[in-house]
Amino acid sequence: MKAPDFDYLRPSSLDVALAMLIEHDGEAMPLAGGQSLMPMMNFRVAAPEALIDLADLTELRGITVDTDTVRIGAMTRYAELMSDPTVQAHIPLIGMALPHIAHDAVRNRGTIGGSLALADPAAEMPALMLALDASIEVAGPDGTRMIKADDFFLGMFETALDDELITAIHVPVATPAQRFGFHELTQRHGDYALAGVAIAKTDDSYCAAFFGVADRATRVPELEAALTRQDNIKTVLTHLDQIDFTDDLKANHTTRQRLAGVALTRALKGMTQ
């Protein structure tokens, strides 16, 4: 199908874009890469009165490092993340996950900010942000605030955004004490994951964020504690019971729980050295 009609707005600055969001009072949607929004509009699941194209907002671009944090502009495309030397050097987990996100043609348009704002439960980026203890920089009519990834994802396609735009993502620079793991199971390469996990290990302590398994990217504190204690993997996997696994046409909750266990086991085996 084709998208229903809408007004196309192309603000030249962040302030103008924010004013447009307020003026349209919930009836306008920001447009980033369009790789989720366009399908949603073509399916007529989304029918905004207006689209606010973020393409000209220089405030939302660029990748910079300051001592211990990398700041990634929200409009950074997956393809740019893949080829960026700063990201490669300082956030190895992103490089491990990116080849699994969709296909070339989608990665050439889709943005990190768009993926986080969408909060698809099966998307890789939200889980990565949890595992990396990232913060999300957002701007609204009252100024700018930082939201910890742990507080950002509130449910299926639901975030802490409140008439706000994501401006950037702040990710701590990887330290020599850190190791990373990533694995996902899909029906075909580039599909959304049936179950997947992103792991960051700092000294002996683990942070593991699952995706594709529940209504949002999910950490299980008991499971992370068991990993940190170096419990036997069977014991670790029993803590998956804490997740309210999704049932859908592709996999029921029992299958998903098994797949989450497989993804975790493989991710642990494949941890960076």
Binding site: M38, N42, P99, A102, H103, A105
Partner: protein
């Protein structure tokens, strides 16, 4: 506020200007306004790859981009890739290997394959399969497409 927008872009090396409805996507603009019917329309939600074309040198889904987002950009469709000779070797290899039957997927497949070859991709069947996993072919079973892409890489790198 505008539901119809003036755009200027380059398509296959020629300057084009038009007034388009905001909701018109790029592939429909190319097919219906410019009669460039080489890019096909399958799913209209980004999964089949039939509409894959090139914008400023990057492969994109023509169904997931608005015509107005192509304002100021350089668009190359399969017609442009063929006329300029960029896809000649791939087209010959597709013919030789029987890598098309109905041909519906072929323009998108060629655009994706060209992206792989131009990026220096290896003649590695798994890597090629991964790369074209975003392009559906309902006829060939993919083997012959992978063969054709391998052939071109081997020919051009030896």
């Amino acid at each position: 506020m505008s539901r119809s927008i003036d755009i200027k872009l380059r398509v296959n090396g020629e300057d084009v200007g038009a007034t388009v409805p905001a909701r018109l996507n790029l592939v429909d603009f190319l097919r219906e306004e410019l009669c460039l019917t080489g890019s096909h329309v399958g799913c209209e939600h980004g999964v089949c790859g039939a509409c894959t074309l090139t914008v400023d040198g990057d492969t994109v889904r023509g169904c997931l981009m608005l015509a107005t987002q192509a304002n100021g950009k350089e668009v190359t469709t399969i017609e442009g890739l063929a006329d300029s000779g960029q896809s000649t070797a791939l087209q010959a290899a597709f013919t030789k290997r029987n890598a098309l039957q109905c041909g519906f997927c072929t323009p998108g497949m060629l655009a994706s394959a060209l992206g792989y070859v131009n990026a220096g991709g290896a003649a590695d069947r798994d890597a090629i399969r991964q790369h074209i996993s975003g392009n559906y072919c309902r006829c060939t079973g993919y083997q012959s497409i992978v063969d054709a892409i391998c052939d071109v890489i081997k020919e051009t790198r030896t």
